[in-house]
Amino acid sequence: MSTTALGSHSVAHSHASGGALAFLRTYVFSIDHKVIGIQFLFSTLLWFVVGGLLALAVRWQLAWPWSEMPIVGRMLFSAQGGQISPEFYTMLVTMHASVMIFFVIIPILAGAFGNFLIPLMIGADDMAFPTLNMLSYWFMWPAFFCMILAFFVEGGASASGWTSYPPLSSVASAAPGSHSGQTLWLLGLIFVGVSSMMGSVNYMTTMIQMRAPGMTMFRLPMTIWAMFITAVLQAFALPVLTAALFMQLTDRLLGTGFFVPEGLIVNGESAGAGGGQPLLWQHLFWFYSHPAVYIMILPAMGMVSDIISCFARKPLFGYKPMVYSIAGIAGLGFIVWGHHMFMSGMNPALGMTFMVSTMMIALPSAIKTFNWLGTIWGARIQYTTPMLFALSFVSMFIIGGLSGIFMAATPVDIFIHDTYFIVGHIHYVLFGGTAFGVFGAIYFWFPKMFGRTMNEFWGKVHFLLSFIFFNGTFFTMHILGTTGFPRRYADPYHFEIFAPTQTLNQFMTICALGMGASQLIFAANFFYSIFYGPRCGRNPWHSNTLEWQAPSPPGHGNFDFQPVVHRGPYEYSSPEATEDYYPQTAPPPEGGGHAPPAH
C-alpha cells in the first residue's frame, strides 16, 4: 500500500512541475523499462555504426595498405598524406572489437531486448527495480565518454587488442595507446561492468518474482530463458573481470606489478616493479570473456527460437532440451576459458583438459541446431524478414560452430591460432549469428516498440544483400587462415608467404564495403517506419506470447488487463484452437480462466 501511495505522489509531483521536467522523466531519465530498452537500442545502433566504420578502415588497409583512404583519409590523417599509420591500425583493430563487444553486442541483447521484452513477455508491469534499471543505462554514458575521449588523448586510444594483454597494455612505454588511452579503456570497461551487473540482478529478480499468474518457469518463452541464464552468467563472471580490470589499473597507476614479471625492459626502459605474471591476466580475462561469448549469443538464440516457431506456425521442437542445452552451455562455459590460451605458455597438460571441455560444449549447440531444424520440419513457413534473419542465424551458426572444432583441436590450433581462421570463426558466431539474430529481432518486435511495422520489401532487400556480402567477407577468412595469415597485421604483404593473398583480401574488402552500404537500407527503413510505417494492431504476426496481447506500443504499466497464463508459448496450429495460433492468455475451451477483454 505504501509503495502505491509513494508512486502516485511522485507522479503528481512531476505533473505539477510542468512540461520540461515531465519530458525529462518520460523520455530521458525514464524508469519505464520500454523507454530504457529503446534508449539502449538507439545508443547501441549508433555505436554499431562507429564499430562498423572502424572495421571498414581495417579492411581498407588490408586491401590497399598505405594508400590514401578515400573521402575521410585527408581529414583523419593529414600528416601522413591520408594514410593509416601502423600505430593507428593497431588502435583500429582494438577499438573495433572493444566497441562491438562492449558497446554493441552485449548491451543490445541484454540492455535493449532484455529490458524491452522481459516484463512484457512474463506479464509484469515493469522491472523489479525500475530506478536501478534507469541507472544501468546511464552508467553506460561514462563508459561512452571514456572511449570517445581516448581517441583524443596523447598517444591515442588503446592499441593492445580488445584482450589488452599485459605487458603491452600495462607498461606505458610499450605502445602509444598504452599511455592514457589504456587507462580510459579500463575505466570505460569498469563502467560497462557496473551497468551490466545492475541489469543482471534486476533481470534475475524480475524473472523470478514478477511472472504473471499461471506463468510457470516451463511456460516461459525461450527468449526469457536465455535472458535469465545470461543474467546468471553475468552475475558470476563479471566480478572476476572487474577484479582483473582494477588490478591492471593499479599496475598502471600505482605500480603494483600484478602482471609485470621481474626484470622487464621495454623500449630500453626498465618497467619497474616485478614479481607478476602476464598469464595471470589471461586467465582472469578469459574467465569472464569466455562466458561473455555466450552472453553475446544466448539471448539471440532465445529470440531466434521464438521467431522460428512463430513463422513456422508450429511448436518449438524439444522445448525442454532447448532449455537444458542453454543451461549446459552456461555451465560448461565456465570451464573452457583455457582454449584461448593453448599457445600462451600455459601448462600444456592443462590444454588437454580444456580441449575435452571445449569439445563437449559443442554438444548443447548441436542439440539446439537439430531442434531448430526439427521446428521447421512439417511446418508452414512464412518467409517474412524476421524469419529470414532467424533462419540465416541457424545457417551461419552451423558454420561458426563447426569452425570452432578446429581451434578446440589443440594440435590443429598450433597452426591456425591467431590467424584469420579465428577471425572468420568469431564473425560467423557474432555477426552471422548474433547480429543477424538481432536484425531479425528488430524487424520482429519493431511493431511492439513503435506501433508501426517496417517495410517488408526493403527488409528483404536488406537481408539478401547482407547475407551475400557477409559470406563474401567472412567465409574467405577461413581460407586465408589456412595460409597462416596472421591477425592484427597492418601490412602482411612484405612476407613472401602472404604476398599472394592480397587479391583475396581485396575481394573481402569489396564485400565488406558492400555490407556496410547495405545497412543504409536498414537505417532508412528503420527511421522512415518509426514515423510513417503502417500502423499495426496488438498482434500483427499472430504470435502466442504475452507481449503481443498488450497494446502496440504498450502504455505505462504495459497491460490493460491482468494477464493470466494458461499454456506454454509455442502452441501454434494447436488442434484445440480455432486459428493457427493460441495465445498464452486465451482461456481453455472448457473450465476456468479469466477471459481477457476483447481487442
Binding site: 626484470g263 599457445m343 600444456p348 580441449m355 512464412q382 552451423i398 590443429v412 598450433i414 581460407i479 597462416g484
Partner: protein
C-alpha cells in the same frame, strides 16, 4: 518467394564446399610442410575438415530441404503439431557426444608430442622476442647457453636439417609469438618464462619467422629469417659468426 529463399540457403553449402575445393588449386592453402611432425597436424586438420564438412553439408541441405518442402505458400499438408521427440533427442545427444569425445581423444597424442613430451637434450638455440625483432643466441664451443662464449645474432636464425632441435623461447618486453608456418610450430613468448619448443626440419631452404601475438605498432614488421641447411653448412656459418663477433669486440 519461398523457392527463392530456399535456393539462396542452398548456395551456402554449395559455395562453401566449392571454396574449400578450389582454394588449394588457387594457391591459398596450408603452406608446404617441411617438418617431421607437421603431417600429423595436417592430417588432423583434414580430419576435422572432412568431419565438419560432412556435418555442414548434411545440416545445411536439410535446412534447405525443409525450407523448400514446408514453404507455407505451397505446402498443403496440415502442420505437424509436435512438441518434439524424446527418442530423437537421445540420438542427437549421444551421437555428437561420442563423436566429439572421439575427436578430442584422437588429438591427444599429437598434442603431447608437440608440447608435453620435451626431449631431454640440450637447447640448440635461444630466441628472445623484443619489439620488433628476434634476438638469437647460440651456445659457443662449450655447448652451453648463458656462458661467455655465446654467439649472438638478430633476426637471422640458422638451424641444421634432419636433427631434432630444442629452441628456448623468451621475451624481453611484451608477449610475442614464434610462428613458422612451414614448420607447423607456434608458441607465445612470455617475459619472465623460458618456454622450450622442439621440432625436426626435413628440408633445407629459407623460411620466414612470423610474430603471431600482437606486440605493438610494429607487430606486422617483426619478421625473422630461418635458414635450414646441412650440418656442415650450419657449423661453418656458426664458426664464421663467432669470428665476426670476436672481430667487432
Amino acid at each position: 518467394m519461398g523457392r527463392f529463399w530456399s535456393l539462396l540457403f542452398l548456395l551456402v553449402p554449395i559455395l562453401g564446399v566449392l571454396c574449400f575445393a578450389l582454394a588449394p588449386a588457387l594457391g591459398y592453402w596450408l603452406p608446404p610442410d617441411i617438418s617431421e611432425h607437421g603431417h600429423r597436424i595436417d592430417h588432423l586438420f583434414m580430419f576435422c575438415l572432412y568431419l565438419t564438412g560432412a556435418v555442414f553439408i548434411a545440416t545445411e541441405v536439410v535446412l534447405f530441404w525443409f525450407m523448400w518442402r514446408y514453404d507455407g505458400r505451397t505446402n498443403r499438408d496440415p502442420v505437424k503439431f509436435s512438441h518434439g521427440s524424446h527418442n530423437l533427442e537421445i540420438v542427437w545427444t549421444i551421437v555428437p557426444a561420442a563423436t566429439l569425445l572421439f575427436i578430442a581423444i584422437y588429438q591427444m597424442d599429437a598434442w603431447a608430442d608437440a608440447k608435453i613430451r620435451t626431449p631431454n637434450i640440450p637447447a640448440t638455440v635461444e630466441v628472445t622476442g623484443r619489439q620488433f625483432e628476434w634476438r638469437i643466441r647460440y651456445p659457443g664451443p662449450d655447448g652451453e647457453l648463458a656462458t661467455e662464449d655465446d654467439i649472438f645474432g638478430v633476426n637471422e636464425l640458422h638451424l641444421p636439417v634432419n636433427e631434432q632441435i630444442v629452441l628456448n623461447l623468451k621475451s624481453m618486453d611484451v608477449l610475442h609469438d614464434f610462428f613458422v608456418p612451414q614448420l607447423r610450430i607456434k608458441q607465445d613468448a612470455v617475459p619472465g618464462n623460458k618456454i622450450p619448443m622442439w621440432f625436426t626440419a626435413r628440408e633445407t631452404g629459407t623460411y620466414e619467422i612470423v610474430c603471431a601475438e600482437l606486440c605493438g605498432w610494429g607487430h606486422y614488421k617483426m619478421k625473422g629469417r630461418l635458414t635450414i641447411e646441412s650440418r656442415e653448412a650450419f657449423d661453418a656459418w656458426l664458426k664464421q659468426r663467432a669470428a665476426e663477433q670476436k672481430a667487432t669486440q
